[in-house]
C-alpha cells in the first residue's frame, strides 16, 4: 500500500481510538473513584453504566454553549482548541506497536522514523501551556486568571525534570528516536528495560508527567475547593469537553511514554520478544503495549485517590529543590558510566544512593524547620 494511505490509516486509528478511549477512561475513572470510596459509580445507563459516556457525549453536544459577554472572544475560542491540538500533535510521534522501519509495511506510528522523536514530543507538548494561559486570560475572571497562572507556572516548572529525566535514557540509547529506544531495550530482553538502570528517572518522569497534565496530587490549578473550576470555569459544553479530552489524551500519551521509554514498549518475555515472528506476533506486541499503558493509566487513576494534594509552595519547592537537582545528578551519573565505559548496572545502586541522599537532605531540612520553629516559639515564650 502507498505509505500515504498508511499514514491516513494510522491517523484515523489514533484519532478514533484516543477519542473513544478518552470517553471510556472517564467512565473508568468514575467507576474506580466509586469503588475506592465504597460506592457503586454510574450503573443506570446501560449495564454497569457502560453507555454513560454516550450520554455524556450527547450532553456535551446538546448543552447550551454559553459565551459570557465579558470574555476576549478570539482567545476564548482559541484556548481549548490549542489545548487539544497540541496534545494530539504530540501523540503523532508515539509508536503504538512494533515498527520495522520498512516503508512497505504498516508502521504503528503516525510519523515513522522520526529522528527527533522525544524532542518533537516535548516541543509540541510544551505548547499546551498556551491553552491554559489563554483560557485563564480570556475568561476575564480573577479566579480563572489565578488558576491559569498557577497552572502555567506549574507546567513550565515541571517540564524541566520531564526532559532532564529522559536525558539519561537518551544517553543510554544514543538516539532521540522513540523506535530506537524500544529497540535498544528489546535487544536484551526483560533485563534491557531502562527501568532497571534508571529507576529514579522513571519515578521523576512519572511525577513530572502527572504534574504536566494537572492530575492529582498536582491538580491545584483545577481543584474545585480552591478555585471553583480554575481556568476552565467560564467554559461550557463543547469547549469544556475539549479541555477535558485534552487532559485525558495527555494522560494516555504520558502512559505510552512511560511504557515505551522505561518498560520496554511492546516487549514481554517469551511471547513478544524482538525476534518473535510467529503469525500474529504483531498483534500480540500491540496488545502487550496496550496492556502496559492500561496498567499505568489505572495506576494514575488510583494515585488520584491515594495521595493528598500538594500545596502550591510545596509543589514548587518539590520541583526546584528536589526533582531538578536529582535529574541533573542522574544525568551526571549516566555521563560517568558512558564516558568511562563502566557496566551499566552500576546505575542501579547510583539511583538508590541518590534517592537515599535526597531523603536524608529533606529530612534534615524538615528537622531544621522544626528547630527553627521551636527556637522562634521559645523566643516568643521568653519575651512574652
Amino acid at each position: 500500500m502507498h505509505p500515504f494511505l498508511h499514514t491516513v490509516l494510522a491517523i484515523s486509528v489514533v484519532l478514533g481510538a484516543t477519542m473513544g478511549a478518552c470517553a471510556y477512561l472517564i467512565w473508568l475513572e468514575r467507576k474506580l473513584a466509586a469503588w475506592v470510596q465504597d460506592r457503586v459509580g454510574p450503573n443506570r445507563v446501560g449495564k454497569f453504566g457502560l453507555l454513560q459516556p454516550l450520554a455524556d457525549g450527547l450532553k456535551f453536544l446538546l448543552k447550551e454553549d454559553i459565551v459570557p459577554a465579558h470574555v476576549d472572544k478570539a482567545l476564548y475560542f482559541l484556548a481549548p482548541s490549542i489545548s487539544i491540538f497540541t496534545t494530539f500533535l504530540a501523540f503523532s510521534a508515539v509508536p503504538f506497536g512494533p515498527s520495522s522501519g520498512q516503508s512497505g509495511e504498516f508502521q504503528f506510528v503516525i510519523a515513522p522514523q522520526l529522528d527527533i522523536g522525544i524532542l518533537f514530543l516535548f516541543a509540541a507538548g510544551s505548547l499546551a501551556v498556551y491553552g491554559i494561559i489563554l483560557g485563564g486570560w480570556a475568561s476575564n475572571n480573577k479566579y480563572s486568571m489565578l488558576g491559569a497562572l498557577r497552572s502555567s507556572a506549574q507546567v513550565i516548572s515541571y517540564e524541566i525534570p520531564l526532559g532532564l529525566s529522559l536525558m539519561g535514557v537518551i544517553l543510554l540509547t544514543g538516539s532521540l528516536n522513540l523506535e530506537q529506544v524500544i529497540n535498544h531495550q528489546t535487544a536484551r530482553g526483560v533485563l534491557g528495560w531502562h527501568v532497571w538502570y534508571q529507576p529514579l528517572a522513571c519515578l521523576i518522569f512519572f511525577m513530572s508527567a502527572l504534574a504536566e497534565s494537572n492530575r492529582l496530587p498536582f491538580d491545584l490549578p483545577e481543584c474545585e475547593q480552591e478555585l471553583v473550576g480554575g481556568y476552565h470555569t467560564e467554559y461550557s459544553a463543547m469547549k469544556f469537553a475539549m479541555f477535558f479530552l485534552a487532559e485525558y489524551t495527555h494522560v494516555i500519551t504520558v502512559s505510552f511514554l512511560v511504557a515505551i521509554l522505561f518498560f520496554g514498549g511492546w516487549q514481554f518475555p517469551w511471547i513478544a520478544e524482538a525476534d518473535s515472528v510467529y503469525p500474529g506476533a504483531t498483534v500480540v506486541k500491540v496488545l502487550v503495549l496496550l496492556v502496559k499503558v492500561f496498567a499505568f493509566i489505572l495506576f494514575i487513576m488510583l494515585i488520584r485517590w491515594t495521595i493528598p494534594r500538594y500545596r502550591y509552595d510545596q509543589l514548587m519547592s518539590l520541583v526546584w529543590y528536589g526533582l531538578i537537582p536529582l535529574t541533573v545528578l542522574n544525568l551526571v551519573c549516566v555521563m560517568f558510566v558512558k564516558q568511562f565505559g563502566l557496566p551499566e548496572v552500576w546505575l542501579l545502586p547510583a539511583s538508590g544512593a541518590m534517592f537515599v541522599g535526597a531523603t536524608i537532605v529533606s529530612a534534615q531540612a524538615a528537622k531544621r524547620r522544626v528547630s527553627r520553629g521551636l527556637r522562634r516559639s521559645a523566643a516568643v515564650q521568653g519575651g512574652g
Binding site: L32, D38, V40, I303, T306, V356, I360, A363
Partner: protein
C-alpha cells in the same frame, strides 16, 4: 485578659525518620488502603428505587387525618394546628357536628402540601391526635391544584397507612406506636 503563661502548651512536631521522609511508606499505606476499599469493602450505596430506605417511626412525611374508633374524623376544628403552622398552609372551616359527643368538626380541612415545610408543628399542637405526619416521602403531582389535599384525601391517606406499621407515636391515644421503645430509655416525653 492576656493569655496566661501556664495556659500555653508548646507541642513539638514528631521526629520524622528516614523511611518516613522518603514518603514511600506513606504512599504504600495509602495504596493499600485504596486497594482494600476497592476490593474488600462492600459498597454502602442504597440502590434506589429498587431498595427503599428504612425510615424511622417519627419521619415527617405527608399528613393524614386520623379516624376514631367509629370511623369518624378525630379533628375537632380547634384551629390549633392552623395557628401553629409556620407556613400558613392549613385552612379549616368548622361546622357543628351531627353527633352527640362532639361539638365541632371540620367541614373543610385543606392542607397545601407544597407550602408545607414538614416541620411537624401541627402534629405537636393537636390536642386530640387528629393530624399526623406519615412516612410517605415520594409525593408527586402534575399540578398545583392536585397538591391541595382536602379532608377526604387526608382521610384516604389514613386509610392507606394505618396498617403500614410505620405509625407515628400518637395514633391511638394512650396506645403508643413503635417509637415508644425509643422513649423507654429516656423517660416519657413531657
Amino acid at each position: 485578659m492576656p493569655i496566661q503563661e501556664h495556659e500555653i502548651h508548646w507541642i513539638e512536631e514528631p521526629e520524622i525518620g528516614f523511611w518516613e521522609a522518603s514518603l514511600l511508606p506513606g504512599i504504600a499505606a495509602g495504596i493499600r488502603t485504596t486497594l482494600r476499599h476497592m476490593f474488600r469493602e462492600p459498597s454502602v450505596t442504597q440502590e434506589y428505587p429498587e431498595v427503599k430506605p428504612d425510615l424511622p417511626a417519627n419521619y415527617r412525611g405527608v399528613h393524614r387525618l386520623n379516624r376514631d374508633d367509629q370511623g369518624r374524623v378525630k379533628c375537632v376544628a380547634c384551629f390549633l394546628c392552623a395557628t401553629a403552622c409556620p407556613a400558613n398552609c392549613i385552612e379549616i372551616v368548622a361546622a357543628e357536628t351531627p353527633w352527640p359527643d362532639r361539638d365541632k368538626y371540620p367541614e373543610t380541612f385543606v392542607i397545601d402540601e407544597l407550602r408545607c415545610i414538614y416541620c411537624g408543628m401541627c402534629e405537636e399542637a393537636c390536642p386530640v391526635d387528629a393530624i399526623e405526619l406519615t412516612s410517605i416521602y415520594d409525593l408527586t403531582g402534575k399540578s398545583r391544584q392536585e397538591m391541595l389535599f382536602d379532608r377526604e384525601k387526608l382521610l384516604s391517606v389514613y386509610d392507606e397507612t394505618v396498617d403500614s406499621g410505620k405509625d407515628p407515636i400518637r395514633t391511638r391515644s394512650g396506645e403508643l406506636g413503635p417509637a415508644s421503645t425509643l422513649l423507654e430509655a429516656k423517660g416519657p416525653a413531657t
